[in-house]
Every structure is written in C-alpha cells, then in structure tokens.
Symmetry: C2
Subunit: 354 residues, 2 copies
C-alpha cells in the first residue's frame, strides 16, 4: 500500500507547538488503519528561518512541496514589527507557487448556532504584491499598490463555493444541527466603490452560479463587505458559504473566528483541486510561544480538513467528532478558552476521544 | 448676529426620514439661543436623483457646498444592485471635492464599556477609483485598481487622530465613565502583505506621533487589520482612537457599529479643519424606507458632531445627553433596537429630553 507523505512547515512561534499534535492525531489514525502509512517531512520557512538564512521560503521547500508530498501543514508566521528588506511572507508565496487558489475557513459553534465557511480567493487581489514607492513634486512620498481581480480566478473560486454549499447541504440532510434550511452562497464585494474590480468579481460569481444546473438549488446573495462585517456580528446564524476576494476574505475570516470563542479553534486549508495545505488561522503568538499552552485544536482541525480534501472523509469525520467532544466536555481547555490545560493535555484528550 | 447655513442632502431611502429630526433638534437649540439663527438649504444628490437627472452629484450642489454653507448633513445613498453606467457614489465624490479628509465615527455604549472612535482617512486608498478593465491573452477579463497611500494624507490623518485622543482624554479627566486609563491611538494596517503602501501609512502615523510633544502622552499601538477585527469583537473595551486607511476604516467602523446594538445609533462626520458634513453610518435601508420607523439617532448625533466640530461644544453636549437619556430610558425605541416607536416618536423624545 501507498505511503502518504506530508510536508510539515511549523514556521514561527507556536507553529512549532501546534503542528506536532496534528501529526500525533494523524499517526494515531494511521495506526488504526483509518489512514495509510504516513511519513512527515520537516520543511523550512518563516521569519525565524529568514533571520538565520536570509530567505523566508527556501527553494528546497518549494520543490518538495511541488513534487514530493501528498499534503502539507503550515504552522504560523511572525510578521516583522519594522520593515525588513528582502523579507516577504512565505505563506503568501507558497499559495502562489502551488496555486492553492482557495482558502477555506469553516467556523461553527458546538451548539450549532453558527455554521459558516469563508471561501477566500487566495492568489490575487492586493496579494499580488505589485507595489511601488514614488515622490510627489513636493518631495513627499506616495505609494501605490495594484489590486488585480481576474474573471478566471473569480469564477474558479465561485464554482468551488457553490460545490462546497452543495456538499454542506448534503451533510446537513444526513443529520446534524444547523441553522440553515437551504444552502446559500454570499458574494462579498464593495462594488459601490470598486465598480470595475469588484464589479468583475460579482459578475464572475453570478456566472459561476449559472455554470452548472446543480447550483440552481443554492441561493446566491450579494453583500457589501462593510455591511457584511456588521451583519456577521448581529446575525451570524444566517451565513452559510461566504465567498470573497483575497483581502476581504482575510478580514472576514478573522472576524468569523471571533464568533466561536477563540482563534485557537479555527482551521483552514489552502487548496487547489488536487492538493491541500492545512493552516490554523491563528498567528505565531510570540507572547505565548514556548510555554506549551497554545491551543492545538485549530491545527488538528486543519489536518482533518486536509485529509478530507484528499478523500479520507471518514478519518476526517472522526477527528471533528473527537475535537467536538473535547470542546463540549469543556474539561481540557487551553487558556484562550478559559481553561488551564496545556497543549499536550488537549492533544491527549483528543487522542483519547478518537 | 450671524446666521448659520446648513446644506441638507437626504439623498436616498431613509435619508429623507432621518435628516428632518436632526434639523428639528438643531432648530430647537437655536430657539433656545444655544445656537445662532439657522437656515437649511436642501441639496440634490443620490441614486434616485441620478435616475431622474443622469447625475448623482449636480454641480450646483458642489458649488453651494463649497461656498454657500457653514456645515452640512448627508443622509444615505442606495447602491445600484447592478452595474449602472455613469453612476458613481456622490458621498465619495463629495469627500473628495471638499477635501473632507477625515471620517470620524465614535461608538460607545451607554454603560461606558465600549468607547472607541474610528478616524478613517477619507480621500485616498482604493477610493481614488482608478480602475481599468483589460483582457488577458486568452480573452478573459482582468480588472485592476490602484490603491494610493501618500505620506501627506497619512500624516495628516495621524495628527488628527492624536489630537482627538488628547481631546477625549481631557473630557474623560473631567468625569464620565470610560474603560480607558490612558489615551491611545491604534494604527491599523496590513503591512505584512502591503509593505510599501501600508508600510508608508504605518511610518507616517509614527511620524505624526513624533511631530508634537503634546502627543507623547498618547500611546501608539499597531495592529494588523485582520487581527484588529478579531480583537474588536473579543475585547472592544481596549480600543480608544483607531486610525486607518480608507477601506479598512470603512470596514472596521461598520464592525464597531455592531458592538453598540444597531447601525441606527452610529454617527459620523466627514471633516477637514474648517468644515464638517454629518452622515449617519447606516445605509439607505430601502426595506424600511417610507415607513417612519428608521432610527433618527445616528442622524441626530451626526448633527451634534457637526456643530461640535464648528465650535458649539455645549450645544453638542446637550444633544448627546438628551439622546443618551432616551436610550437609557429605553421606552422610545425604533424597531432596530427592539422597540415599537416611530422615527417621529424618537425625535420628540429627544426634543423633550433636551
Ligand atoms: C500572515 C498573513 C500574510 C496571512 C494573510 O494575510 O493571508 C494571514 O493573515 C492569514 O490569514 O493566513
Ligand atoms: C456608500 C459607500 C460609498 C460609503 C463608503 O464606502 O465610504 C459608505 O459605506 C460609508 O461608509 O460611508
């Protein structure tokens, strides 16, 4: 039988503490034959690595990621607090190099009241990083950045959003509490100001909706990004699948995380149709790094999303269930959730609940 | 004695219902000699007007605003649900024409737990509306927008943010419940991705901090916009003055509005050093327009911010106090706050509490 190989990129801060628990959970499932044999390949990336080596994302890492692994897990990156020449975020670069065009970030509460997923376009918008610095005639500085939205990337992410809405609806039909009576996709934009770029995004999501008659049963709703943030906090239960250009997606998915108690439980994958890289939504949290108190749940859930994307739905489901049990029981919680348990405690509780 | 002239631009939807209560309150204060004689000049603008006339912001309106009035109130604009050739948001255009470089949006809860103000740069960022549509070699569409950040505009908004922090601190010293023990300015950016544009914004806010030794007593804190949105919902009490480039400011101020119960109570002014235009933060709310149930409080408070900016602090304070009383009492509330009162009821309650 085949061995699955996973690239492991802890990067910075608590990335080093939350990836091992995810690995332990996957290994346990492999031992129980719910997953094939596994191999984990440590890979360099991050700001710490940049300080040691001068590169944030070494070529070897990109090469292995491109051809040597079946999936990957990324920890978290620290952002320099001052401008550092030559440094550029490795996570943004990885998404681009591997064309991981979708950033999928589900959030839900154990009580089933909130159940939404952000499907964020992951390759363009202001993240193309075309920026320039210039001087005005009076000698003061002016900086410009290009925001790029393409029909292809927008339709592609739109289609995926509708697929995900259908899939979620199917899962709901087969039980499970949910606030949604019908599947919906919310298209997030600011076309009242950005009529050309967000106009194209909006139009492309509409085109995606019409591209397949299976999508007819999914309702398409449009929402300005500012009002969206307002509504997300007033009536979070109404949102199902939310599709957004890159930067809005970044902002709203962090906002959505606030709905569920802690960034420490919110997972994501960076994915294309054949590959997924799990990534907890939280940052590198330098203030708590090295203390064994970081919440490993976001990372463990990200690993589940990753293997689900690879087709191992049952194994993934068993992880979700185990994590939900630990959260519902509420005995083993890290400090971000008001508990006193350590990273390892929570890992062990999940392993036990598996 | 001088007569104060105010331009009144209801624009669309409930703008027509919430501006009259603001006018009534100002008139009442004038009758009581807390304000000079007043004159209100109705001015055209908006999407409805565009549909009738083909222009969203007629030249006459711009001219009167530029030279014929001492202040102004803007209602709210509807955004077309489909792309409409030739239409461009009149509020964005007005800010630019009058160089109303700051969008000031305070939110606070009656219990004093939340007490923050967004100071949003109001003239540049993606709001310069430089966009173009092109075709890729494969014939599909690509759209690009330019995001512009200048040192001048960023330092200018930064200085204003520090001034506002000092002023708020002074008011707090003289009583009033507040969660803040020291004044702080939060600089909101995304320089881990936009190192040049947001790098310049960040650097300019730092320069503003150093530009005047009076600002030394204000703490400067930097925060990535995505984490900011997360934190705003987890620990809103920590935020005092939040300064942000245009688009982030748009998004976070709508988010902040969610903290205080309803967009219907959140005011703003678009201001420069000599002129202010009040603008409730809510939209045109076509679903409730014409029913006399729109909340007039955001508009009334915006009028107070406007006259405060003109130097009539006492008159403004009496409006804030009257509104707070009505809210605290909780008997006369519009449906957005869970009540059953009409727009006119709430207006009358405020007049009575004055
Ligand atoms: C670290 C940063 C570049 C990144 C992003 O903006 O995408 C992060 O916020 C995320 O959401 O994964
Ligand atoms: C109507 C729209 C153009 C406007 C903006 O984006 O500035 C509105 O959302 C606001 O915040 O005043």
């Amino acid at each position: 039988t085949k061995t699955l190989r996973f690239g492991m990129l802890p990067a910075d801060g608590i990335g080093h503490e939350v990836l091992p628990p995810a690995q332990r959970v996957l290994e346990e499932l492999s031992t129980r034959k719910a997953l094939p044999k596994l191999e984990f390949i440590p890979l360099n990336a991050g700001f710490d690595y940049f300080r040691r080596s001068g590169v944030a994302l070494p070529d070897e890492t990109i090469e292995v990621m491109k051809s040597g692994v079946d999936g990957a897990m990324f920890g978290s990156v620290s952002s320099p607090s001052h401008k550092v020449t030559g440094y550029s975020s490795p996570i943004v670069a990885l998404r681009k190099h591997l064309d991981l065009y979708a950033n999928i970030r589900p959030v839900s509460t154990v009580d089933g009241k909130v159940d939404m997923v952000t499907v964020r376009e992951n390759t363009e918008c202001l993240y193309i990083k075309k920026e320039e610095l210039d001087r005005l005639p009076d000698g003061t500085k002016v900086a410009r950045a290009t925001r790029q939205i393409t029909q292809n990337a927008s339709e592609r992410i739109g289609k995926l959003a509708f697929e995900i809405a259908l899939k979620r609806d199917k899962v709901r039909q087969s039980g499970g509490s949910s606030p949604h009576s019908e599947p919906s996709v919310w298209s997030i934009h600011k076309s009242n100001v950005l009529s050309v770029t967000d106009g194209l995004f909006r139009e492309s999501i509409k085109a995606a909706h019409k591209s397949d008659e299976r999508f007819d049963k999914v309702k398409l709703v449009e929402q300005l990004v500012d009002s969206f943030v307002y509504r997300m906090f007033r009536e979070p239960q109404i949102f199902d699948v939310c599709v957004a250009p890159n930067l809005y997606g970044d902002i709203i998915s962090d906002g959505a995380a606030a709905l569920v108690g802690s960034l420490g439980v919110v997972p994501s994958i960076n994915a294309n149709d054949t590959f997924a890289m799990g990534e907890p939504v939280h940052g590198s949290a330098p203030d708590i790094a090295g203390k064994n108190i970081a919440n490993p749940i976001a990372s463990i859930r990200s690993a589940a999303l990753m293997i689900e994307h690879m087709g191992y739905s049952d194994a993934a489901a068993s992880i979700y269930k185990a994590v939900d049990e630990v959260l519902k029981e509420g005995k083993m919680l890290t400090p971000d959730l008001g508990g006193k348990s350590s990273t390892t405690d929570v890992q062990d509780a999940v392993l036990k609940a598996l």
